[in-house]
């Protein structure tokens, strides 16, 4: 850790944009109009908005690829609006949609570029390259000497992220980094990215036009309208639960309630219990359990507590058949890390109308049904409203 701090800033740094404005000559409207925004250290802040809203321009003013017409930029409290731009950029990781790997350099040379500019020793650079390739899940000995053209799109993207982090910058700027990648690989890269950020805790400003990506990745989301005006800047939960205005509501789209379900995981909600019995219990006992409960069917578990069948009283009466052949198979299971969205999907598929929650050994834990989902949504709404009541009256710090 301390080894990489030389010539860079702290592990993560807050960013403050103050009245940032960009006017292009010959255009009546500024591309970015008086944007003021605080980006907390160690969080992913996603700038999202329709094309032409100025989100990319805003991002590129942070590392001054685009020089602001007026306004100030502070990183870690330091005013960087007028410092040497090249020096500044070596402390800020930058990933663009096209990635822009240097095709004439090997993967190791690409990743080692910024450390080289910062004057690191050869051995330290090569050690750092290997460390980063490991970090993004690429075997160093296999990829160090390859050229970008020999990699797949997903691998190039990984190298792009590794390159951006080479000098361990406290700040990472990402401009639609997953935009040009097929949906399956994108999903995987997004998950890897979240896992990385979980360990690294960089301050990340992320631009996308995809609200679903914003909800998935953002600790906070800034929804921008024309001129980079902030329509709403809040957590994904708050934006989905209480959109600030019609523009935000429109932008989120009609599926807001469903999207909200992607933010909660099964392990975070209180599970309901269902009447259960065991395959090897005697039928009279099972019938009693069923009669005592208020469900029309009984969930049968095997000797390892794994769900096997759904059976009704009628099924139990069919004495000729063995219990693991009657009723319905206990499909539609979810694990605790699944989202409520996944659970709902299973629920709709299941003929019983609920999803069985099992642990990683597939042992029965409880069930999720429509009531669980409705309760989770209510709690989320109440949580955001309670928070808003708390903060009401206090001056909002541009958030």
């Amino acid at each position: 850790m301390t080894e990489h701090e030389q010539g860079t800033m702290a592990a993560a740094a807050p960013i403050r944009l103050e009245s940032l404005t960009k006017r292009y000559p010959g255009q009546a409207e500024p591309a970015v109009d008086n944007l003021t925004m605080d980006i907390p250290a160690g969080e992913i802040v996603v700038l999202v908005g329709p094309s032409g809203c100025g989100k990319t321009t805003s991002l590129k003013m942070i590392n001054r690829i685009i020089e602001p017409t007026s306004g100030r930029i502070f990183i870690d409290g330091e005013d960087v609006t007028d410092v040497n731009a090249d020096q500044l950029r070596r402390r800020i990781g930058y990933v663009i949609q096209q990635i822009g790997l240097f095709p004439h350099m090997t993967i190791a040379e690409n990743i080692g570029m910024v450390p080289g500019l910062l004057g690191w020793s050869r051995s330290r650079i090569s050690q750092r390259v290997d460390e980063l390739l490991d970090l993004v899940g690429m075997e160093p000995s296999a990829y160090r000497k390859r050229y970008p053209k020999e990699l797949s799109g997903g691998q190039r993207q990984r190298v792009g992220v590794a390159r951006a982090m080479s000098a361990d910058p406290p700040v990472l700027l990402m401009d639609e980094p997953f935009g040009a990648i097929d949906p399956i690989t994108r999903e995987r890269l997004q998950n890897e990215f979240l896992r990385l950020q979980n360990d690294l805790r960089k301050t990340i400003v992320f631009v996308t036009h995809d609200i679903d990506e914003a909800i998935k990745l953002g600790d906070r989301i800034a929804i921008l309208t024309k001129g980079s005006k902030i329509a709403q800047y809040d957590t994904p939960e708050a934006i989905l639960t209480t959109p600030a205005d019609d523009f935000v509501a429109d932008f989120i789209g009609s599926g807001a309630s469903l999207k909200r379900l992607s933010l909660s995981r099964v392990r975070d909600v209180e599970l309901n219990q269902w009447a259960v019995g065991r395959l090897d219990d005697d039928r009279a006992h099972l019938r009693r359990t069923l009669a005592d409960g208020d469900h029309a069917s009984l969930l049968l578990l095997d000797e390892n507590q794994r769900p096997v069948r759904w059976v009704t009283g009628h099924d139990l009466a069919r004495s000729g058949e063995s219990l693991d052949r009657v009723g319905l198979p206990a499909a539609a299971t979810v694990e605790p890390h699944a989202t409520l969205h996944d659970a709902l999907n299973e629920m709709v598929t299941s003929r019983v109308g609920c999803a069985i929650v099992v642990d990683d050994q597939r042992r029965y834990q409880g069930i999720v049904d429509m009531r669980t989902v409705m309760r989770a949504i209510d709690e989320m709404r109440e949580g955001v409203q309670a928070r808003d009541r708390d903060t009401a009256g206090r001056p909002t710090e541009a958030v």
Binding site: I99, G100, V114
Partner: protein, 220 residues
């Protein structure tokens, strides 16, 4: 005498005269080498100075293109009052001819570098100079090299005409031969001069091809 009769006299001539012809070939090669070296420095400089500037680049291409349209005979002659006779007017005129292909390929090559690559270099904190030397030039290099090859081939041919201003090289025997055309000696001179020019051109092209491959990144 038929063409075949003339040809049949050539081998004996070559056997006798090859040391002189070889010396002239080396002179020729030297003229080409100096010309291409100077032209590359100038054209690369012009290209670098103007590739990001539309009107600048157009001016460079128009002017260097105009040099190519002047008939070589005339250009060599025009320089006599300024530079006199010999190697100097030869090289000056040849450099003017060699500029266009190199300048044009420099500009094209630098302009065809993927803007995303340049932007990511900028975003990583490479200075203007570092971007040019470490990213843009290496990426444009194969295209620039192609321009140098074209110029070299062209200059090997045109250099022969420099004999009219007493320039060095294989133009000497060709012009002597042409003034005595119709005789076996005239044919020998013109034919062997031309033959050596052609062989030199092929050799140089081969060498430059190898150089180009060796100096271009395997990643391209």
């Amino acid at each position: 005498m038929t063409f075949l009769d003339y040809i049949s006299g050539v081998p004996a001539y070559l056997e006798r005269e090859w040391p002189d012809l070889l010396e002239l070939t080396v002179e020729h090669l030297l003229v080409v080498f100096v010309t291409i070296l100077l032209a590359t420095v100038i054209a690369l400089g012009l290209g670098l100075a103007t590739y990001r500037n539309r009107s600048g680049a157009r001016t460079v291409l128009t002017v260097t293109g105009a040099f190519l349209t002047v008939p070589s005979f005339a250009l060599f002659g025009l320089f006599i009052p300024i530079f006199g006779l010999g190697a100097v007017p030869t090289v000056v005129a040849l450099v003017l001819y060699a500029l266009l292909p190199i300048a044009r390929n420099t500009i094209t090559g630098l302009r065809s570098v993927d803007p995303a690559v340049v932007e990511s270099a900028q975003g990583m904190g490479l200075s203007r100079r570092q971007r040019l030397l470490r990213v843009e030039l290496p990426l444009a290099w194969p295209v620039i090299m192609a321009g140098i090859r074209v110029s070299t081939l062209m200059i090997v041919g045109i250099a022969a005409i420099a004999a009219i201003v007493n320039g060095p090289g294989l133009g000497g025997p060709i012009f002597q031969g042409l003034s005595a055309i119709g005789t076996q000696r005239g044919f020998n001179l013109a034919f062997s001069g031309t033959l050596f020019v052609a062989v030199l051109a092929l050799l140089l092209d081969g060498v430059l091809g190898v150089v180009s491959r060796m100096t271009t990144s395997k990643g391209l």
